[in-house]
Symmetry: C2
Subunit: 309 residues, 2 copies
């Protein structure tokens, strides 16, 4: 049994997978016994990254507490986004770049959240603070996580630290940010190979907002109109998801990685909250949000705000 397992959130994105691997590599070089694992399927973008750098995907687990004594969370801290049995394992570290919510610990731990665009940017600092050199494959995973989370620096969550880290890492990984970055983003921005179930679950996160439970899924495309043929089918699937999980609201964000606008589809009893939060009117449950690409910075805060009023 490994001493410590490291994992990102459910429905893992490229940052959750790559940061779990990159942080395990660092911890192991420092003499710890760590294994990266994942809480869900590898999405096409992440598969592109793993294939490119010839790295094996971490083991898939749903229950973690019988697998190791300790857990390290990367890229999330909210328990409802983590493993099912997260309360039954000792969390010794959290490295993240999201808001803090519902996190409780009995004892002090190493908890490092920074307001940057990507977990891998914090890991880049941790490698330096521990004076460990980053190898080529790990640098490749880390730069991919930054490209993914910042949409190649176009997201408002992107900071100077992310850009600087990505440039450093791209040199070690020997990739061109522009060329590799766009190829990687496009590999994930393709609805054709996805079922509607995948579209609404691949990058979905659940949030407590006031007394309501809100699920927000996001998918990247190269043209938001791609989603229209799926609309009826998507709505039916979302409605059964709402019923099954007892959600008050479900928001699907369809982000155009070229224009940086998003189309949102909102369903649920609290649908009106979306209109209040963004000062918009939904037409057939749809609206376009200009310049909105970041769930964390542009969708969660205004929505949380109207739920707390």
């Amino acid at each position: 049994m490994n001493n410590t397992i490291i994992f990102g959130h459910q429905n893992p994105d490229t940052d959750s997978i790559c940061s779990a691997i990159a942080y395990s590599t660092l911890k192991n070089k420092l003499g710890h016994q760590c294994e990266p694992i994942r809480l869900g399927l590898i999405n096409p973008e992440t598969q592109f990254v793993l294939d490119y750098f010839a790295v094996k995907a971490p083991r898939l687990l749903h229950h973690v507490s019988k697998e190791a004594e300790n857990a390290i969370l990367v890229d999330h801290n909210e328990p409802q986004q983590s493993a099912i049995d997260i309360n039954e394992i000792r969390i010794v570290e959290v490295i993240d770049h999201h808001r803090i919510s519902n996190f409780e610990s009995k004892e002090p731990l190493y908890f490092r959240i920074e307001p940057v665009g990507c977990t891998a940017t914090i890991l880049n600092k941790l490698y330096k603070e521990n004076q460990i050199e980053i190898d080529k494959k790990t640098a490749g995973l880390m730069v991919s996580a930054i490209i993914s989370d910042t949409l190649l620096f176009k997201s408002p969550t992107c900071t100077k630290e992310d850009i600087d880290a990505a440039h450093e890492l791209s040199k070690i990984a020997e990739v061109s940010l522009e060329k590799y970055g766009l190829d990687m983003l496009k590999s994930g921005a393709n609805l054709k190979d996805k079922t509607v179930e995948e579209i609404i679950s691949m990058d979905a996160k659940e949030f407590q907002m006031g007394t309501s439970t809100v699920e927000i899924a996001q998918v990247n495309v190269v043209d938001t109109s791609e989603i229209l043929p799926y609309k009826d089918n998507l709505e039916q699937t979302i409605l059964s998801e709402i019923k099954e999980k007892n959600l008050d609201l479900f928001v699907l964000i369809v982000t155009d990685i070229l224009t940086n606008n998003s189309l949102i589809l909102a369903l649920g009893e609290k649908q009106k909250k979306v209109e209040q939060a963004f000062h918009i009117t939904l037409t057939q449950n749809l609206a376009t949000l200009k310049g909105v690409v970041s769930r964390k910075k542009q969708v969660v805060p205004p929505l949380t705000h109207v739920f707390q009023e």
Copy 2:
């Protein structure tokens, strides 16, 4: 109006005062506009430190939200231990070494908790990470905070990092750890100049445990029997405190800084939880806990555990 104010918890101890000053100094050297403030009276130990290094006490405030745009919390993260109006100010950073509880943020922030004995030990790393030299007075404040929080390295919360930092800082501050450290601790371990109100409030913290509210105060002495002449008077004052604040339990920890044992006095409806947590029987509300000196590591976790059962 200052852009950012920095403060430790209510009923500030030496770490809360000294870390607020030391972190403000660092932030100001990095070009920010910060002011350290305090949420309560300076205790005798901290006064000894400020006098020794000729440093002015920070300004006393109870309400913070009209004083600055942003807040940085040091040495605490639980809102009930912070300023009364903490929910009305934007928290941009937290530097702490305690458990995480009840902390919520709408947006990502810089949140750094490490399982070390003292906030100043983390600040010592932040100075290095930012490549800023620590001046003599600031080093004096920081080493004092470490001596205070670790009881001169005797607390189980003390780590190798704390000891290494204290040795580095004592050289810059030009003090002998043994001589200065014991003088400093003794200056605060004196009940004679204190009223019973001061004894139970000077270093008191409130905790949510399960559905209960628990207040835990701590005072250092050089002989636990010093407390006995105050017992009746203390109990009366604690009982009115319980009534006024609607507490379920009040625990006073009287710690002998020479033997490293503590006498505890427990009152309140949930008094039995103390007996369960420490496998002891209270006699006239009192019991001795051998080798227990740390509220954070040796008192809060077992108590939290029995309240959650």
